[in-house]
């Protein structure tokens, strides 16, 4: 974990509402693992504003990539960052996804949830499928980058403007049935809104596979000190505890979560 002042190298809009920010982050980028995140202090936000957490989308020779959607005060100001400006970054934070997998990987993304899954896809030896959903075609991001690495991509949008019309769980169900029919196993790696995480976790339970969910909670410290970001969890012996999403997570296996 480091606390660095990082220079903006590139900053571009990738689609309506979404931007790609590349920072020079040295050791933060070198030591990052898929599923981890960084905590940014957005310059230009008024003094005393809290940091904002963002998944690590990719790392490339000391560069840290962040794919983000502007949704509020902080991310609106963040959009104005210019190359050459500097941003305070704490990271890499959190536990990250498990990596050495035996069975087929199915990545399931909603909106900017695709960010940590791309970094994961670059590190998984065996290619699989990305199932991605959103409200409309505008929320379907960077799928070409997965295709370029040899991943199959299946899209679902609520308004039908891209891929099949419906929720991400519709095509996911087809994939789970396919895997079941071949007698193989699979594991899900999931990032998106809470409702989606829950629905996917439930499907995973029905099909007897593991689902690694990346939780999104509002954070303050990002390092496990303030207890603002907690989630009730279940141990294998059935007892429960209250974990910190920032430092015990953000990745938990669906069966651990007490919704």
């Amino acid at each position: 974990m480091f606390d660095f002042l990082c220079e903006v190298i590139e900053h571009d809009e990738v689609s309506k509402e979404y931007c790609l920010l590349k920072l020079f982050a040295g050791e933060i980028a070198h030591t990052a693992r898929p599923g981890q995140f960084v905590h940014l202090r957005i310059p230009g936000l008024e003094q005393g504003s809290l940091r904002r957490p963002f998944s690590i989308f990719n790392t490339d020779k000391g560069l840290l990539w962040i794919l983000y959607k502007s949704v509020g005060r902080g991310t609106e100001v963040m959009k104005k960052l210019e190359p050459g400006e500097e941003v305070k970054v704490i990271g890499p934070l959190g536990n990250g996804f498990p990596l050495q997998r035996e069975v087929e990987s199915i990545l399931v993304a909603g909106g900017y949830g695709v960010a940590p899954l791309y970094f994961l896809a670059t590190r998984l030896k065996r290619k699989g499928v990305l199932v991605v959903g959103g409200r409309s075609a505008d929320d379907i991001l960077v799928t070409d980058m997965f295709v370029g690495m040899g991943w199959r991509v299946v899209v679902a949008t609520v308004d039908g403007s891209s891929g099949v019309k419906g929720l991400v769980t519709d095509p996911l169900l087809d994939e789970l049935k396919r895997v079941e029919a071949t007698g193989g196993g699979c594991e899900l790696f999931v990032c998106g809104p809470d409702g989606m995480l829950r629905a996917v976790g439930e499907l995973a339970r029905q099909y007897g596979c593991k689902a690694w969910l990346s939780l999104d909670k509002h954070m303050v410290c990002g390092v496990g000190a303030c207890l603002a970001c907690v989630q009730k969890l279940r141990r294998s012996d059935g007892s429960t505890w209250v974990g910190r999403v920032c430092s015990d997570g953000p990745i938990f296996e669906a069966g651990e979560i007490v919704w």
Binding site: G48, H218, V223, A225, A228, V242
Partner: protein
């Protein structure tokens, strides 16, 4: 660098400089240890502990507001035994003085926790949280009645020789009454302020934002309120004051010391910039040099 005496004695807690961290904003020290050399702090003040593990409030537990945040964490923690076994070994190894913030729902619980901590090597003092706005029983209810404060401090005094530092609530009509009550009952130092009771409403849903409905305001917004209370407290205090509330620069800390504080604690600012306490230490030293002072104690109560 010229020789400047930075050490202070906070009612028996010997600090090599006057800067600690505020309870609940620095975990148990180890969470920030990758980012901050905690051995350079005057002391580490840890998150509030009670006699047993406690889950705290439901989410949302915080909300950002202009100049700070409102929180209602609800004092989640591993309990005193868990604290001693899980967190003290690390802090002891670091050799930094540890101030343990303790709470309970009745006086006996404070005493029980204080007794257990009295035999633990590395614990330098106890901060009595009698002013948390975020728990249903105890908490602020203790801190807003001077008689209860006297009774509680007196009872804990009877069970421990550790330095006792009651932490006062800001939402009282006259802070001096509470300072007197605490010191007369045997407090070795007094800490102030805890967060200021506060509430935020989501106007779209017309519901309180925090699950606990109300919480405590902290951060830059509370600083002038805290300065005024520290200044008033210093008028009657015979014991040293540990001041906190919205410190984000050395200037904020120096202001508290001029108002009468012996030591200071950095709270919410840790979340934004974990290097704040170390910057504050360096800034105080630089200020003393610039003003030709030789000891940080010269600042305390130097208001003109």
């Amino acid at each position: 660098m010229s020789l400047i005496e930075m050490s202070v004695n906070l009612g028996g807690v010997r600090m090599k400089n006057p800067v600690t961290v505020a309870s609940g904003t620095f975990g148990y020290g180890q969470e920030y240890a990758d980012l901050v050399d905690i051995t350079r702090l005057g002391a580490v003040t840890v998150k509030g502990v009670r006699n047993r593990p406690w889950e705290g409030n439901d989410l949302p537990r915080h909300v950002e507001v202009p100049g700070g945040m409102v929180n209602a964490i609800g004092l989640q923690g591993p309990g005193v035994d868990g604290f001693i076994t899980q967190y003290m070994p690390f802090l002891r190894e670091k050799g930094v003085p540890v101030i343990v913030n303790i709470w309970g729902t009745d006086i006996e619980e404070y005493c029980e926790v204080a007794r257990k901590l009295s035999d633990v090597p590395g614990v330098a003092g106890l901060e009595l949280n009698i002013s948390c706005p975020n728990v249903k029983e105890g908490g602020n209810a203790f801190g807003t009645d001077p008689q209860v404060v006297a009774e509680l401090v007196g009872a804990v005094r009877a069970v421990t020789v550790l330095p006792l530092i009651p932490k006062l609530a800001p939402n009282v009509p006259d802070i001096r009454v509470f300072v007197r009550a605490a010191q007369d009952a045997g407090a070795d130092a007094i800490s102030l302020i805890n967060t200021i009771p506060a509430m935020v409403i989501d106007i779209e849903t017309r519901k309180p934002v925090l699950s606990n409905r109300v919480g405590g305001l902290s951060g830059a917004a509370v600083h002038p309120v805290a300065v005024k209370l520290v200044w008033e407290a210093s008028q009657v205090a015979k014991v040293p004051l540990l001041a906190m509330g919205g410190i984000s620069t050395a200037g904020d800390a120096i202001e508290f010391m001029i108002a009468g504080a012996t030591a200071v604690a950095v709270g919410t600012a840790n979340f934004i910039d974990p290097s704040t306490p170390l910057r504050v230490i360096a800034g105080i030293r630089e200020y003393l040099e610039r003003h030709g002072m030789h000891a940080v104690g010269e600042l305390t109560g130097s208001l003109v």
